[in-house]
Symmetry: C2
């Protein structure tokens, strides 16, 4: 029984549920149709099937999550992961089912890295013998693993790790050792308290030579009682901004001996006895996994952004603030006309903050699918010896990981702030999204460092193109490679000017694409000139390289959005283009978002577009009018519909202010009654820390009423 009793009061008029109903009545398209466009039927059916199972399982209950400290979060996550594995085994879930269930529950836990990092490492690097020894028990969760690459002093530069694995011919063993404090394994998910094995990246040293990082699977905790094995010291690295249900861990090895089979040997290995190193085949093969992981992160960016903007948009349709004197809102109720405050979603600043984020979700969705398609195409090509897609894919996946995760982190925080004070409450659901999403800008390649890879490839493509053009090949790959197409167009006429003279001209997608292509090309040309002609150092160009990567990747996002809703993006063999099922109304609504995505991106930071010479100042002002028109007239009526189409059940959002039914204030107050501090009327520390000031002699009848 809570000491805080919920008063039996309604919110003042108008009610949230009525407001959302009005919004939904205005929607010009079928919400289900857009959901299907985004996810496909199979996903939506799977979500409904899994949700029914998950919502009724007590181990997956989210009601305590907002209140839990680290230790409680971890304990609950261990139970959750255990229950999830049991359920998966019982229901014979596919890996897709499992991944989808984890998205619904949305609490990264101690067994998570076993599934997403440890096992994939085994799958790609085990010999047949190692499959029996490591992978099969791992699939049964007898072996629970973690992926121990990062060190206390080494993150992005994997080549710099310091842990050693020295081959000892006499015993046919490796000695794993931590030579320095900076070589401590650190940040390793699941290592802190849970894993009994680790895939350790260590420098292979054999026959007196250092061959750099290789993977070794080593036992770290006893299979009998989970105590640490002699020679291994490990623990949890402590609390973090988020991800506190996961036991990120640290580990030291003290001349720890493991048998030769510990080295994952599918690609490279050691000859027993001599310790001779047998080289891996084409190193490029390993890029493929990175591309896949990074393409996946675009999807993650989409999902978390979509959650945040669903909450912020629904709440902004309900939250009212001030009366807009130019167009006051009136409410008719019981024959009375009363002026009420304006929903914040009607203010153009709120629209400028939120609507481009809605548009970004659709942009991320289309580019995420396209990157996955290219990944599989590349895998197929590489299998037949064709590596032509790899460099481009590696480059764009690096830049897109950087851009899209940076966008998502900024957009989540913007959504949180757009909810005013309530965005600061855990009950809004937004702090959790913010905290747990934050590491995406750092892991799988820091967002600044990654852009160097994109830059290098773009500059190489440009130099190759210039050579080919010098040799008279003016149309090299213009029709098949969009990067080369915009570089060619730029080289054809570096002084190209936009011809727009009125607002409606900016709704032309070809014009938008030309602006992004010209801008990107102008930056690339300038950097290559600085590097090759002015002989500037690479370090001095890093800020420009970052900007080049952003410009190129914005081009990709805009292009995939434009082509995707037209049904002009290639589809994987045998797949129907999801755009083919769109009704004209849906296509029109998506076109509005595509226009807003492109034009808002320019309007917010027009500098480089102006510097490229394509746009002039008057055009940027006109384009601003187009942004305003799109927001106020086209997107405003559909805003709630657009976020409803993201199809998040309330169970996922776990938000007082973003639930489907709009009962913002009722749900919020109800959550507050469950705050642990509210379970006693008088707080624990009162006697010791408050009463000595307020009633030092412990007088009875010492009330304010008596004083007055």
């Amino acid at each position: 029984m809570s000491a805080l009793r919920f008063p039996n009061l309604p919110p003042s008029e108008p009610q949230g549920c009525d407001l959302l109903a009005e919004e939904r009545a205005k929607t010009t398209f079928s919400v289900h149709e857009l959901s299907t466009f985004l996810y496909g039927d199979a996903f939506l059916e799977r979500q409904a099937r899994l949700l029914a199972l998950i919502e009724k399982e007590p181990a997956f209950d989210k009601s305590k999550r907002h209140f839990s400290g680290r230790s409680e979060l971890f304990a609950a996550a261990l139970r959750k992961d255990h229950t999830l594995i049991k359920l998966a085994q019982q229901q014979k879930w596919t890996p897709e089912d499992f991944g989808h269930a984890e998205q619904l529950i949305e609490e990264p836990g101690p067994f998570g890295l076993h599934r997403v990092m440890f096992m994939p490492t085994l799958v790609s690097q085990c010999t047949e013998e190692q499959v029996e020894k490591f992978l099969k028990p791992a699939l049964r969760y007898e072996i629970i693993g973690c992926y121990a690459q990062t060190e206390l002093g080494h993150g992005s530069n994997v080549q710099g790790i310091e842990t050693t694995a020295t081959y000892i011919p006499e015993t046919d063993e490796f000695e794993i050792h931590t030579p320095y404090l900076t070589a401590s394994k650190w940040w390793i998910g699941g290592l802190g308290k849970t894993a009994n094995h680790a895939a350790v990246m260590a420098r292979l040293i054999t026959a007196g030579k250092d061959y750099g990082p290789h993977a070794f699977v080593v036992p770290i905790r006893s299979m009998e009682d989970h105590t640490l094995l002699p020679g291994v010291m490990a623990g949890d690295i402590g609390p973090k901004l988020g991800y506190n249900a996961t036991d990120n861990g640290c580990m030291w090895f003290d001349h720890y001996r493991v048998p030769r089979i510990s080295m994952l040997a599918k690609h490279s290995s050691i000859k027993p006895g001599s310790g001779e190193y047998i080289k891996p085949p084409n190193a490029k093969l390993s890029y493929g996994t990175m591309v896949f992981v990074r393409a996946g992160l675009i999807g993650t960016a989409r999902r978390h952004t979509a959650k945040a903007v669903t909450i912020a948009t629904r709440y902004s349709a309900i939250r009212r603030q001030f009366v807009d004197k130019d167009s006051p809102k009136k409410l008719s109720k019981q024959q009375q006309q009363m002026v009420v405050e304006t929903p914040v979603l009607d203010y153009t600043t709120q629209q400028y903050r939120l609507f481009p984020i809605i548009a970004a979700v659709y942009a991320l969705s289309l580019t995420s699918s396209e990157m996955v398609r290219l990944y599989y195409l590349n895998v197929k090509n590489m299998a037949s010896g064709d590596f032509s897609l790899l460099a481009d894919l590696h480059a764009s996946s690096s830049g897109l990981k950087s851009l899209t995760t940076t966008m998502a982190a900024a957009n989540i925080e913007e959504c949180r702030r757009a909810c005013g004070g309530h965005g600061y409450s855990n009950f809004s659901g937004l702090p959790t999204i913010l905290r747990d999403y934050a590491p995406n800008v750092t892991w799988e390649g820091d967002n600044y460092i990654l852009t160097q890879q994109t830059g290098r490839d773009l500059f190489k493509s440009f130099r190759d193109l210039v050579s080919k053009r010098a040799a008279g090949k003016m149309n090299t790959d213009r029709n098949t490679n969009p990067t080369l197409a915009y570089l060619n167009t730029y080289l054809d006429n570096p002084n190209l000017k936009c011809l727009a003279t009125m607002v409606s001209d900016f709704y032309n997608p070809e014009l938008q694409l030309a602006a992004f292509g010209h801008r990107s090309a102008s930056i690339i040309v300038r950097i290559v000139h600085a590097l090759d002609v002015q002989k500037r150092s690479w370090n001095s160009m890093l800020v420009d390289v970052y900007n080049a990567s952003v410009a190129h990747c914005q081009f990709i996002l805009v292009r995939n959005f434009i082509l995707g809703i037209r049904g002009q993006l290639p589809q994987p063999d045998g797949d129907v283009d999801p755009a083919s099922a769109l009704s004209p109304a849906s296509k029109e609504a998506l076109k509005d978002l595509s226009d807003l995505f492109a034009l808002h991106t320019i309007h917010k930071e027009p500098g480089q577009f102006l510097m490229s010479g394509y746009l002039d100042s008057q055009q940027v002002l006109l384009l601003g009018e187009a942004v305003l028109e799109l927001m106020e007239k086209k997107i405003r009526p559909n805003a709630v519909g657009f976020v409803d189409a993201f199809a998040f059940p309330d169970y996922i959002l776990n938000s007082a202010i973003g639930a489907f039914d709009g009962r913002v204030y009722e749900r919020y107050v109800e959550m507050a009654t469950r705050e642990p501090l509210n379970q006693k009327e008088v707080v624990e520390g009162y006697e010791q820390y408050v009463r000595p000031f307020t009633n030092p002699k412990g007088l009875k009848g010492h009330t304010m009423q008596a004083r007055l």
Copy 2:
């Protein structure tokens, strides 16, 4: 005894303490001199005196803070606040001492709002009788108060609050009542569990008329035993992104009667019996407090930014990543030359991220002092009936609150990310700064809404100026008011062009100021034209209004920086200009920062500067060269010195990676050993949730070694 034992290993070479020593040896100025410039001697002496007391008091120990959940944080904060009050009484601290002590301890607690909101409300609004009844017991902490303005459905629009206080002539009482759920008091610091009184903002209703929000001091908890009084329901609103040591609370009144004296009556009051309302004098008087609070927030923005960038800069001088092939770093140790990774502070991207933040701290410092000076000048002026400064001050304090808190929040997060993965660990100290700083962008005026006040005033100034110029007064206030000066200059020549042709031209402060003034004026002119000539609605111009406010306030920051280090800002009567004590070396170093602050602001978002016509694309590129030159040649050697000058003792930073001595990794590992999960070798849930998979039959001797 921790189950995680600290290995006796040093980090690999070079050591953090040696690296910081090298950095400090390179510093071209006296660190103490810059500290004194920023804070003055009195502040630094007070800090040393208070720190000696505070560091040895167990209630102020910070070592557990990184690990504590909400309930522990709150319990510790209650103890901390109790101890702090006792210490203040015992040491006879001044209010300045108390405030400074709170900055050192840096944990907003349950008694905080009593001091910073409740008591100031009493001071400014109590009659003499109320001083006796409320203020004096409050000064002794018998009354512990909170300030109950915000409601569940009402934040920024104070006029819209719904709680009522109806005067009942029969009993000479007010009836405080919560008519709707949305009228619940919400977010009220200290109300949740601690306060026994509240200053409640409620709509005064008397003699059948609604006079809008007024302040009432009402008892809410029993002075005898701290239970809630009949008619009042209150509790804690639950966990938040940060500020979890404070009991932000909620409250409902059920026809709660209080005597007439509860209404704070210095400015407006009720005649007993008739209930006649007696009007307040000039309402403008109350603006003064807002200006003061907002000026204070600029100082808060400075302090938190400075903490974050101290941590990030020191760590970036120690953290090494990759080898810069164009200029590899070598280490001489024991007659050996070895190539080591490059400190990340040497990379231009890291410089572009961090150095402008260092510069921003100095910019905020100078503008904060200037706003405080203007506040006191205005108070003095108003006392003699001169309100001439008020509107300008209200406008610039609104815009500066918006701009500087937005900058600070972004800069803190940038510092966190610039520390890579370790910025995500609580032990870096950065997540705490981020979480606790976040509400600054929302409270005391939402950062978007506030800019409308700045815009309104700027547009009014511009219209007045145009009228005066039309009447032939071309030089109105040009020499005394910087806003009118730049507007006049623009109107003299809207087509003014920057004459810079080489990098060094951009180091001219007059040129920088002209760029910011011209840009701001061009936006103001355009908006006023849209509003007055094109008759555009205010709502349709809000995004532009926001940009105008940012542009104007960036001008103020740049101007105060330039004038402040030259010793050209006016000083309060009798005060010595802190710039007068600067040596040439310090002045030169500060000039580098001032240049970087101005030029980086343009370089990062050049769009509006280009659109204003003052700068062209070639000049923006040249200006980029100036930014690079400043970063690599001028600021890099002084970076650690600049942040050392912020004079934060390690006790304030509470950071493993940002401490003065550079022992990053040793301190980090030591903190991890104290993680609660590490106190047992085998985690609590093992038997129930892990062993069923890994050793289901509980076999003895079931080890991996046996399997191999």
